[in-house]
């Protein structure tokens, strides 16, 4: 539809002229602010700044943004893999996330196009490398391992949350090994995903105590 000097349908006063500029963004799938390439011209009203895409421009923008999206995933994957290098060997990473040998290397060197899910997983692991160990645990088909840690003056930690956030009943029982050891057991049973068979108190109250399931 759009000729160079077509009347703007938004204001009926200005005219649409192709305008290429930087800083224009749009959401695409899970990326909320993907930049439209600065070289891409969009018919833009010279009075009200409305950007109106005709069928031809829409088709072109669709192609351009699909490419920008793929580039964004590749870039995010590459960065995540480089960040993960310090935390885990590449082959081990491949094994842990269940992809074929060499795939991570291909992603790192832009020889393969990552999808959204693998990119999301890599970004999360790179952002929080502790999750690597957690992922190893989660792959286990045995019951969940639960760790209870008592920290003097701070109460207890359970599953990464402080006692005030997660287990206030545990904090109240501080001071009694037996009592506070039992409270997590109750909580563990309540959560329904933990099987506890042994409680091993640490030599001092500041050391971790493990409930092994």
């Amino acid at each position: 539809m759009t000729n160079e000097l077509e009347l703007c349908p938004a204001c009926d006063v200005g005219h649409l002229r192709p305008l290429a500029k930087s800083g224009r963004r749009m959401p695409l799938k899970q990326i909320p602010d993907l930049e439209i390439p600065s070289s891409f011209a969009i018919p833009t009203c010279d009075r009200c700044d409305a950007e109106i895409l005709g069928d031809t421009e829409l088709a072109s923008l669709d192609t351009v943004m699909k490419s920008a999206y793929a580039n964004a995933l590749s870039s995010k994957s590459e960065h995540a893999i480089r960040d993960l290098n310090e935390a885990i060997h590449q082959r081990e990473l491949e094994r842990l996330i269940g992809v074929s040998a060499g795939y991570v290397s291909k992603l790192k060197n832009a020889q393969a196009e990552p999808g959204g899910p693998i990119t999301a997983l890599l970004m999360l692991l790179a952002d929080e490398p502790r999750l690597i160990e957690r992922l190893r645990e989660l792959w286990s088909t045995k019951r969940t391992f639960v760790e209870v840690i008592r920290i003097p003056e701070q109460g207890f930690r359970f599953g990464g949350l402080s006692s005030s956030e997660a287990v206030p009943s545990v904090a109240r029982s501080e001071g009694s090994h037996l009592a506070w050891a039992c409270e997590p057991l109750n909580l563990a049973r309540l959560t329904g995903n933990v099987s506890v068979r042994e409680i091993t108190p640490g030599p001092s109250t500041s050391e971790p105590m493990a409930l092994v399931g």
Binding site: M1, L7, P9, A10, P27, P32, E51, D55, L58, M65
Partner: protein, 127 residues
Amino acid sequence: MQPHHPLDEVKRICEEADIELDRARCLNTLTAYIDLFKCKPFAREVVALLTLDDFSEVMNIGGLPYDLYGVRLPQEVKRRYGIEQLGNFYVKLRISRPGRLVFFISLHEMADDLWRRGGLLRSKDNN
């Protein structure tokens, strides 16, 4: 109150002629969910579903009258476009070139409840 732009004519243009969507205010709210090339067909389907009961008010934007509608989309339509998770839709449009072009300045999920001729439409239905 009646729409400024006769709904029958809006529907006819959407079916037989051209439509345009403002990029910043329409496309940017749709492309998180719908492929770019499906946005116009989606807009046409939404208009085909509009009734006078969906009409809310005429809004003056930049000296031009736009008709505002709130519409509940059938699940089948939402499923086809992969937007089952979205609520009801807010539509603001005008006939820009008589007989030739309908221009959408808004087409997105409703952020707030909306009073229409047919009664109150919640932004999201209780399921």
